[in-house]
Amino acid sequence: MKKRIGALAGGLFGAGLFISGMTDTSKVQGWLDVFGDWDPTLAFVMGGAILPMAVAWQIARRMARPYAGQAFPVPNRSIDRKLVIGSVLFGIGWGLVGLCPGPAVASLTYGGTSGAVFLIAMLIGMGAAPKLRSWLDRSVPAD
């Protein structure tokens, strides 16, 4: 059941990225580039996605447990340097090419060599991240 729900959610996510135009890097970069020919599409996508998700969080509060799972995720409240450094690194790469992890997967079948090269580099980066994360934890005293 969990796999079927996962496939349904993944399909909706992929369809949404496809229809919204978010697998087109020029639309993402067009939104980030406020000094260029600004493209507001990404704001509509974000707004549209946040609406059903906000409703879902409210429904989750009234449910004892998820339909097929054991428990709802417990919020992590720590604002630490990993959150900030990681987000800045991500943002630099996102601006440079206009791809983030979701669209990189959703567009793999039609993104050509560029999409494949980006995805492989992203997977390598993800593989290296645990080491960098523990290095960040060790190198500076905990806050």
Binding site: K2, G14, F44, I50, A54, A60, Y67, G86
Partner: protein, 141 residues
Amino acid sequence: MHIDWILGLIGGLLIGTGGAVYLLGNGRIMGASGLIGGVVDGSGRGNLGERLAFLASMLLVPLLLGLFTQLPDTHATANVWALIAAGLLVGTGTRIANGCTSGHGVCGISRLSLRGIVATVFYILAGGLSIVFFRHLLGWI
């Protein structure tokens, strides 16, 4: 309203519905970087099947939709060095921050999570500065 904005809104609603299904169904946050990263670094061993089903469907549904319309052009740069650098930055960054546009952005902001909001502010600011730097100052992209 511009047709792209309407399609953006419809697509966004679908993305959010996917997140709602995943949360209420499996009790999990729909974050692309976490879903993929857990497969790559082994931290998602306990629910690998669910992750792979999610990712396979996410990859195949756009291809199926392309049969009825046409597959869009991603307009991604052909500059291999930019692609490698960006891929490495996105891969490491999202896993260090434990989230990307879907996890921190969509799922975090909708929960009014301070973590999600802080992450989103930083990656959008960095993304904006990045494109100003690489496009307008260096003229690389």
